[in-house]
């Protein structure tokens, strides 16, 4: 059961964050942080299917994570989701067309291996 929940979390987190990045990219940079302007941002984002689908995927990931930490230690739950780093970086390169140079790849791999090592008692 633990590992089924981990797979759901990894897939839903990746889908959620990539869709969120796509939706925000389409929206464009937020410059104005006054309440009125933020209200207009919120209503624009509510009409973006990327953002709505992303919130759906993140809700799935969130409830699966809540279930996981109710049956397993947090020190198991958090590192088990490290696979999403690699998956998301691949999507960032090919779908979001981000430039991922050696610094970014090396840094991401260091972070992912570090997260896995955090699980070792």
């Amino acid at each position: 059961m633990k590992w089924i929940l981990v797979s759901i979390i990894v897939l839903a987190t990746t889908a959620g964050e990539v869709l969120q990045a796509l939706g925000m990219r389409h929206h464009g940079e937020i410059h104005d942080f006054r309440p009125g302007a933020l209200g207009r941002v919120a209503s624009a984002l509510a009409q973006s299917w990327h953002i709505m689908a992303s919130i759906g995927a993140m809700a799935v990931s969130f409830f699966a994570f809540m279930s996981l930490i109710s049956i397993a230690e947090l020190s198991f739950a958090v590192p088990a989701t490290a696979a999403s780093y690699i998956l998301e970086t691949i999507f960032a390169k090919y779908m979001l067309k981000e430039h991922i140079g050696w610094k970014r790849w090396t840094g991401t791999l260091l972070v992912a291996s570090g997260v896995v090592l955090l699980a070792v008692e």
Binding site: E29, M66, L96, I100, T108, V111, V115
Partner: protein
């Protein structure tokens, strides 16, 4: 006058800090609340809704909503491949809080993990937060 590049970097740092702090505090409160709620494995929404009435769970969920909104704002200008590794400094904070405030044991392997994450965050932190070209508004000529 600050240059646009400096302004973007400052904005990125401020939002990264908000994302990291709300993530760490939100998950800690949520985890603390879940320990008193007990096992939660259900397809029905009712047990989850009942869990929200636990004050720690409610506080955790509120902070995670702030986390979601600041994460969205950050992604409106910064790369996902930048935000993802850089915000994982949150794991280091969780481990350090566990060690120094909760007096948990941190194994040598975990210290290596903490060091690797810090090295990775430093490396990615030295890249430009935005490598994609911002979308141009369509202008008719």
């Amino acid at each position: 006058m600050t240059s646009p590049v400096k302004a973007l970097e400052l904005k990125t740092r401020i939002f990264t800090a908000i994302v990291v702090l709300t993530n760490v505090l939100g998950n800690s409160f949520l985890s603390r609340g879940m320990q008193s709620v007990g096992e939660l494995l259900s397809l029905s929404p009712l047990p989850y809704i009942r869990a929200l009435f636990n004050p720690w769970v409610a506080l955790g969920v509120s902070l995670l909503i702030v986390w979601l909104l600041s994460h969205m704002a950050l992604l409106s200008w910064a790369d996902l491949s930048y935000v993802l590794p850089v915000t994982s400094i949150a794991y280091v904070l969780v481990a350090l809080v566990g060690r120094f405030l909760l007096h948990e044991h941190v194994s040598p392997a975990r210290w290596v993990g903490i060091t690797l994450i810090m090295a990775g965050v430093t490396l990615v932190g030295h890249t430009a937060p935005r490598t994609h070209t911002p979308q141009k508004r369509v202008v008719s000529v």
